[in-house]
Amino acid sequence: MEPLVHHEGLVVPLDRDNVDTDAIMPKQFMKSIARTGFGPYLFDAWRHRDPGYYGKPAAEREPEPGFVLNQPRYAGASVLLAGRNFGCGSSREHAPWALQQYGFRVLIAESFADIFFNNCCRNGLLPVRLDAARIERLMAAVDAQPGYRLRVDLPAQTVTTADGESHPFDIAPALKALLLGGLDETGATLELADQIRAFEAAHLARSPWL
């Protein structure tokens, strides 16, 4: 996983609440047993007029010009700005895979669903929670200023605008460390194998149902 420490990028606004993971990555693409190749199908039903399937050639796709990601001014965006409860619903990690593979590195929203938030941090995709008033201001600014960019500093836990306004955000220390280090989390936990084994022996002994 690619570490994320600082990031600066073009912002695209998706001004909707309750964007669910079925919308981010529709089920027909979850039939792949691979971890890659999802980027072209991100928000598939919103981004395209034709029905999509995994492996459908780009030349056969018919983009929906009204959808924000298809607007030329947002081409190359790497920061997604959204409303409340982003990533709700299904636990599918295919959703953060698709966002990351499309080119996003940072998601900024008023709130995120719990499972999705965790999944993002394990895929080099930083979810940033900001309050409603700040989100509203950022939405207005992105809309008003073509080429609007934001800078994110994960060690300092801030989002900074081009004119220097800084917004602080919270993130759990373990998830922050994962993003900063691009860590092999499983490998790190296996370093604690002796502790797990000792716990397990005692736990199984007192739990006859396991």
């Binding site: 001004d15 909707r16 609440d17 309750n18 669910d20 079925d22 919308a23 529709p26 089920k27 027909q28 979850m30 039939k31 792949s32 047993i33 691979a34 971890r35 039903a45 029905p51 995994y54 409303g83 409340r84 409860n85 709700c88 619903g89 299904s90 636990s91 599918r92 990690e93 953060p96 709130s111 995120f112 669903a113 719990d114 499972i115 965790n118 999944n119 394990r122 895929n123 759990a172 220390p173 373990a174 092999d184 989390e185 499983t186 490998g187 936990t189 296996l190 604690l192 194998a193 502790q195 797990i196 716990f199 397990e200 736990h203 739990s207 006859p208 149902w209 396991l210």
Partner: protein, 475 residues
């Protein structure tokens, strides 16, 4: 110090906790399906890491499997690869696996409790958000992503933090014609789909105590639709009666010791929750969702709301967008909405009680599917549910009414197999999500109880199941 049920289970599984609250949590049971696990197994293979405790895992093919005749396998080659990959991955790792033709196959959240593979006091995870279902047993159960699946397979632990706790107390008595599904939808209507974010919800109160285990599973299943990763219910006689004599439950002396320990799985009387909500369900009407989020719900005697009447701009926009997608006008009476298809099944409502409730309505009302209903599916949650239902003759009731009686699987809940809506089609569905495209691209989903789905199948539009109150029997 007084503790909640959540805290008791969490504490009993904490291998270590860092100063900042990061906890290494031991996982007792890991359930696997074919959709979210292949990449995790691949990662383990790449790193040459073995599965830590194969017998802590149970794998079932459920999302992709066809619900029609399975003798010729899976027609869709891509689905077939996933189902085959699960079998091969489990075979290589020594993990118990129930394939499509196994007599124990079904939706993993139906199979786990029914076999006694999931039991009270356990920590249970699965790469599926509806893992919250198992919390009905007095367990801590929640959905995880594929990276976490890999972590659990390799280490039998998860890196996590303690959730905040919320208690939702359901007061009163569920009226005749209303079920656990109606209560769940009503709770989500009040809390909103993000109301439980960051929390584990314990469902409590007289209504919950009176529910069957099936009903409790329906309630906990839908906790995730209120944003909570986990739903929990305290252990009582109903729990123990359900678990006793399950195939994988402890027996004899081990049962006695287990049952004694499980009786302590309840929140202490003076335990404090981070949030408390109460809802009296005594005057509840059968619930029907009208929008594209489970919080967009109304009573059968109600109407589609008018977005113009909503003060909050974000919500107003969501409502307007939902009505546009659903092809509905504001103020439309819920009981005037006509349907094209009916789906009875899923990990929410695919258990024996659910099929009985639907069949009771079909029997009481008599007759067949309304002419405008193109397809009605009854999909048992597991092979065991199917056998039990057939032993009671329920399949004959469904077939006589014009339903198709199918093989177990997730089916039209998420439409990864051929059971799906076509664009513009409207379904009365006993599943859990009415998101855009969830049950088929362009499809329009209305979430209801099994009894309400059966009533709609006959009427051709939503209708108040209390018309058949005697038969619905309050289930």
């Amino acid at each position: 110090m007084a503790r909640t049920l959540y805290d008791k289970i969490f504490d009993a599984h904490a291998v270590r906790t860092d100063a900042d609250g990061t906890t290494l949590l031991y996982i007792d049971r890991h359930l696997l399906n074919e959709v979210t696990s292949p990449q995790a197994f691949e990662a383990l293979r790449n790193e040459q890491r073995p599965v830590w405790r194969p017998r802590a895992n149970l794998a079932v093919a459920d999302h992709n499997v066809p619900t029609t005749d399975r003798r010729h396998g899976i027609a869709d080659p891509v689905s077939r690869i996933q189902v085959d990959a699960l079998r091969e991955n489990c075979g290589r790792s020594g993990i118990e696996h129930y394939g499509m033709d196994d007599a124990r196959q079904g939706i993993v959240h139906v199979v786990g409790p029914e076999l006694g593979s999931t039991l009270p006091g356990m920590t249970i995870v699965c790469g599926d958000s509806h893992t919250s279902t198992h919390g009905a047993l007095g367990a801590l159960a929640f959905g995880i992503g594929t990276s976490e699946i890999e972590h659990v397979l390799a280490t039998q632990t998860l890196i996590t933090r303690r959730s905040r706790t919320m208690r939702v107390t359901l007061d009163g008595v569920l009226p005749v014609g209303c079920s656990a599904k109606d209560a769940a939808l009503a709770v989500i209507g009040v809390l909103g789909t993000a109301g439980g974010t960051g929390h584990a919800i314990e469902f409590a109160g007289p209504v919950v105590r009176a529910l069957s285990m099936e009903g409790r599973m329906t309630l906990c299943n839908m906790a995730i639709e209120a944003g909570a990763r986990a739903g929990l219910i305290a252990v009582d006689d109903t729990t123990l009666d359900y678990c006793r004599s399950r195939a994988l439950a402890p027996r004899g002396d081990a049962w006695e010791r287990s049952a004694l320990a499980w009786r302590a799985l309840r929140s202490d009387d003076d335990a404090r929750f981070d949030a408390e909500h109460r809802l009296d369900v005594s005057r509840l009407s059968p619930q029907v969702t009208w929008g594209t989020s489970p919080e967009m719900v109304a009573g059968i005697d109600g109407a589609v709301p008018d977005p113009a009447s909503i003060d909050d701009a974000g919500r107003r926009a969501s409502y307007a967008r939902a009505l546009d997608y659903m092809g509905l006008d504001a103020h439309t009476r819920i009981d005037s909405i006509a349907i094209d298809k009916v789906f009875i099944g899923s990990c929410t409502n695919g258990r024996l009680d659910d099929l009985r409730a639907a069949a009771d309505v079909l029997r009481a009302a008599g007759g067949r599917l309304a002419p405008n209903v193109r397809l009605a599916l009854a999909v048992p949650g597991s092979q065991q549910v199917k056998r039990d239902a057939e032993a009671e003759g329920l399949h004959e009731v469904f077939l006589a009414a014009g339903f198709e009686w199918r093989e177990p699987g997730c089916s039209m809940c998420l439409a990864m197999n051929p059971d799906r809506l076509e664009a513009g089609e409207r379904v009365a569905s006993t599943s859990n999500r009415n998101f855009e495209g969830r049950q088929g691209a362009g499809g329009r989903s209305h979430l209801v109880s099994p009894a309400m789905a059966a009533a709609a199948a006959l009427a051709g539009h939503f209708t108040d199941v209390r018309r058949f109150a005697r038969a619905a029997g309050g289930r």
